[in-house]
Amino acid sequence: MKFAVLVFPGSNCDIDAVKAVEDVLQQPVDTVWHTTSDLSEYDCIIVPGGFSYGDYLRCGAMASLSPVMEAVKVEAAKGKFIVGICNGFQILTETGLLPGALRHNDTMQFRCDITPLVVENADTPFTREYSKGDVINIPIAHGEGNYIADEETLARLNSNNQVVFRYHECNPNGSVERIAGICNEAGNVLGMMPHPERAVSDLLGSADGKAFFTSILKAWEARVHDHQRA
């Protein structure tokens, strides 16, 4: 399985995502510069955290217009797995691949901490190695992770089971309904503010993010298997 980790000017969690894929999955992973316009060789594309374009204007706004995001849209439509983490989540909402938006934390402060999340949907390619209701400890580090969507969108997210993670018994940024991560209707595009790539070793304080990565590999293997049988 081949992974791409996108790099925009100002990305800074790109290396962490690469390390997580290498350490947890031992699968090939490339860093891909934002000017690239073809991502067809990759099975999973990670839009990493950081401060693309300095978070100037709006988090993720300028990155969302780069050539590589057009390529991401193409691969998303094909059903490839797309993961946006932190700034990557902001970029995916700015491109319209995911609904809603992310605003300043309600505390008006950047917040870095290990945060408990509850897995709301364990039937996605990103969570199949968890069970619904699992509480996992995953770090957050953001100033603008306050998720918002209008009521109609929220209702749709809930009825389609698109809320994948919620903050558990806390709300570090004021997100509506404690939403920490969502997926698209098809279930192949996921965005989340917490950083699973920072929780892949007990040495770092939590290994609860490992199953996030193994889920993706298992989902891909299952897909390849089904494909071969068909």
């Binding site: 997580a20 950081g50 870095c112």
Partner: protein, 748 residues
């Protein structure tokens, strides 16, 4: 030399009207410039001499003292004098680090002052070829409680936000540091930023401009009119003066690109030398690079990329615009720099070349606008041997008699008072605003004695800490200096690291006051003694003087940044108690408490008095060696340095962190407040599994280090009994809510 066409004063006017004084040059210094040049300097030359001979660039008051620091050791690859020092940590790996102050800018504009301080220190480290892997900050503010202290809260809140804004964006984890609150710092907050970088031996880059004909490039941000000293312009008719900003604004996004581009460029091997354009911008970077190589430089001012039209050579040379570098490339390889910088959407522009005539020559096209012998800027800068006099206040502070103060009636309440004082209270409010996890190598997070960052691909890690108790230095400059080094090293040992080297940021008031110079001289002597005793040479540093306002001098505050090597990840040790049933030992002397200089004396009795706590460097060395050995042998479960608030606070912190109680039985003939809250040095609290106890005690005994079993981990309360009588008893959760809640409550 050309005539003046810029409405600038002529050399004769500068001399006659003593305009050089507004630049900060004294009459004697100006006369020396004229003597060295053999003529009167023009406007831009006067400006260049004034900044190069300023305290900030020339260290003219501090140099004779700094020379006495031990700076040599086999593991030192680069000592003081470069952008940052470098030490060897084996396996072809090296660590570069430095600490620097941004006190004055932070007092004026706390967010940008702190942010640009962080930006500057990061550049110092990556110009050495190192990948920055960690940031630490040592901060001092006035008290933040009460209606009168709104400005201190503003400074504190915005300095922290500025550090967060810059460090988080650029993606370097802020892993540690300390914050102290005392009204001595209310007009002069201290903002000292430290950066640690990792590199291999073959990646080391230096700030030298050698090789005649090699091109000199300005890279990164364009030059604007930021940070040119406002006073200089008060006397000139300058149409832009109203638009000029004395406050530099940081652009961490630009710096992230600059960092990546510079490291990529250095890796090509085509870089001859590289230096940050920091304080005094192009002036200091160009003259220092030439001075190190014994070369000269010719720079065409018309080629310097600028943000605004109509900038004069004076402005271009003195601008402190951020996120700029000066790079000397091998001749014919300029295009390599241009290509790499273009990829990162940055500019790299050839602005001049290296010469062999030892001169800094500035031109505007064919016209020479300044010509100065480089050595006169750097080597001939004045040196002052300031008079020194023992401060009169010492007689009074040393005459302190503990019998003059009453014992608290309720020691549990006193413990709460201390846990709730901002200097001791949890700094989660601060570090939760910093991304301390980015780069996924932070193993021991902020809030511990020292932070620990793992080195990927090895079993090694780096332990790092900042420390410096200004009150101790005030009360006993020499011993206070020793404490600063000893405590920083002790913190590293408690985390499982062997202390290797020091970077220092020396914050003092005016050196022109003999009593202040005495503090400076004596405390540096104390630091040197401790550095020698603990085998931790000084490899880089910075001096910040004149930290005084309205006759209020800051405490003499040398801040020590210590880096140590953790040989194996298994050695990493933290301060929180791990398991009920484990034994608690106090390692180090148990009979030398005293109350002098303690946080207890300040907070509970409102006194800054007594002598600095006792410290014996031989005892300290033996203690650190023995505890580190015990840690490396896997015998220690937790280790915590005794610092502000003494034994009772250290026990509370270990209990709170581990969510475990402890029962302590002590016997002592001393005053109870001395036993519980005294701050004598060379003491470490350790947690040991019962089956390890005898082995650990034997290890300490053999090393000649005293140790005392204090009690046992367990339950959910901290109970301290002295001579059979319960003196402190409280639920750990109750202690925790005081400790954790104090700063958020004050900052609401």
């Amino acid at each position: 030399m050309t005539t003046n066409v810029r409405n600038e004063p002529t050399p004769q006017q500068i001399a006659d009207e003593k305009i050089y004084r507004t630049f900060g040059l004294t009459d004697e210094e100006y006369d020396k410039v004229v003597q060295l040049m053999g003529r009167k300097p023009n406007y831009v030359e006067t400006g260049i001499y004034s900044v190069m001979w300023s305290e900030h660039c020339s260290y003219k008051s501090s140099r004779p003292i700094l020379k006495k620091f031990p700076t040599q050791a086999p593991h030192v690859l680069q000592g003081p004098g470069e952008n940052a020092g470098i030490i060897d940590i084996g396996d072809n790996l090296a660590v570069s680090f430095k600490i620097e102050s941004h006190n004055h800018p932070s007092a004026i504009e706390p967010y940008q002052g702190a942010a640009t301080g962080v930006g500057g220190i990061i550049r110092d480290v990556f110009t050495m070829g190192a990948r920055p892997i960690a940031l630490l900050n040592s901060l001092r503010f006035g008290e933040i409680d009460g209606a009168d202290n709104a400005h201190n809260r503003y400074l504190f809140g915005n300095v922290v936000a500025g550090i967060a804004g810059y460090g988080n964006c650029i993606g370097i984890p802020t892993v540690g540091g300390e914050v102290v609150f005392d009204d001595r710092y209310k007009y002069n907050p201290l903002v000292n930023a430290m950066c640690v970088g990792l590199l291999t031996h073959d990646e080391i880059a230096k700030g030298t401009a050698s090789g005649v004909g090699n091109p000199v490039l300005a890279v990164g941000a364009r030059t604007g009119r930021d940070g040119i000293h406002g006073a200089t312009f008060a006397s000139t008719e300058d149409p832009h003066s109203k638009e000029r900003s004395a406050v530099q604004v940081g652009d961490p996004f630009m710096e992230k690109l600059l960092l990546e581009a510079c490291l990529e460029l250095i890796a090509t091997g085509a870089v001859v030398g590289i230096q940050d354009m920091g304080a005094a911008g192009l002036t200091s970077s160009s003259s220092e690079m030439a001075a190190r190589a014994g070369s000269g430089l010719e720079l065409d001012m018309l080629k310097v990329p600028r943000r605004e039209e109509g900038m004069t050579p004076y402005e271009l040379m003195l601008s402190e615009s951020q996120e700029r570098m000066l790079v000397v490339m091998e001749k014919g390889k300029e295009h390599i720099a241009e290509e790499i910088f273009r990829k990162w959407n940055l500019e790299a522009t050839v602005i001049g070349k290296v010469t062999d005539d030892g001169k800094l020559r500035l031109t505007e096209g064919d016209e020479v606008v300044a010509e100065i012998e480089v050595t006169t800027l750097v080597d001939d800068a004045p040196v002052y041997h300031r008079p020194s006099a023992r401060p009169a206040y010492l007689d009074e502070t040393l005459s302190f008699d503990p019998a003059s103060i009453a014992l608290p009636e309720n020691f549990t309440e006193t413990l709460h008072t201390l846990l709730g004082t901002p200097t001791i209270a949890s700094k989660e409010y601060v570090y939760s605003q910093y991304d301390y996890m980015v780069r996924t190598s932070t193993v021991v997070r902020p809030g511990s004695d020292a932070a620990v960052v793992a080195i990927r691909g090895t079993r090694k890690a780096l332990a790092m800490s900042t420390d410096g108790n200004g009150r101790y230095v005030y009360l006993n400059p020499r011993r206070g200096g020793q404490h600063a080094i000893a405590e920083a090293a002790r913190n590293v040992v408690c985390s499982g690291g062997k202390p290797l080297a020091v970077t220092d940021c020396l914050n003092y008031s005016s050196p022109e006051k003999p009593e202040i110079f005495y503090q400076f001289e004596e405390s540096c002597a104390g630091m040197s003694e401790a550095c020698t005793a603990l085998a931790t040479p000084v490899i880089s540093g910075n001096v910040s003087l004149y930290n005084q306002t309205n006759d209020l001098d800051i405490y003499p505050t040398p801040i020590i940044g210590m880096v140590g090597l953790v040989e194996d990840l298994d050695h990493i040790t933290t301060q929180e108690f791990k398991q009920a049933g484990n034994r608690i030992l106090l390692v180090g002397p148990s009979d030398t408490a005293g109350l002098g200089g303690s946080e207890y004396l300040r907070v509970v009795h409102g006194q800054i008095a007594g002598d600095a706590p006792a410290l014996d460097l031989n005892v300290e060395k033996a203690l650190q060696t023995a505890v580190l050995t015990a840690i490396q042998e896997g015998r220690i479960r937790a280790a915590h340095d005794l610092a502000e608030g003494g034994l009772a606070v250290a026990l509370s912190e270990s209990c709170i962190g581990g969510k475990l109680g402890a029962t302590i039985e002590l016997n002592s003939t001393q005053r109870l407040d001395e036993v519980l809250f005294g701050e004598a040095g060379s003491r470490i609290l350790v947690e040991v599994a019962p089956e390890q106890l005898s082995g650990v005690e034997a290890l300490f005994a053999k090393a000649g280090v005293s140790s005392t079993v204090l009690g046992t981990v367990g339950g959910d309360r901290l109970e301290i009994r002295v001579n059979g009588e319960a003196v402190i008893s409280d639920a750990v959760t109750h202690l925790e809510s005081t400790w954790r809640g104090a700063i958020p409550c004050l900052m609401k």
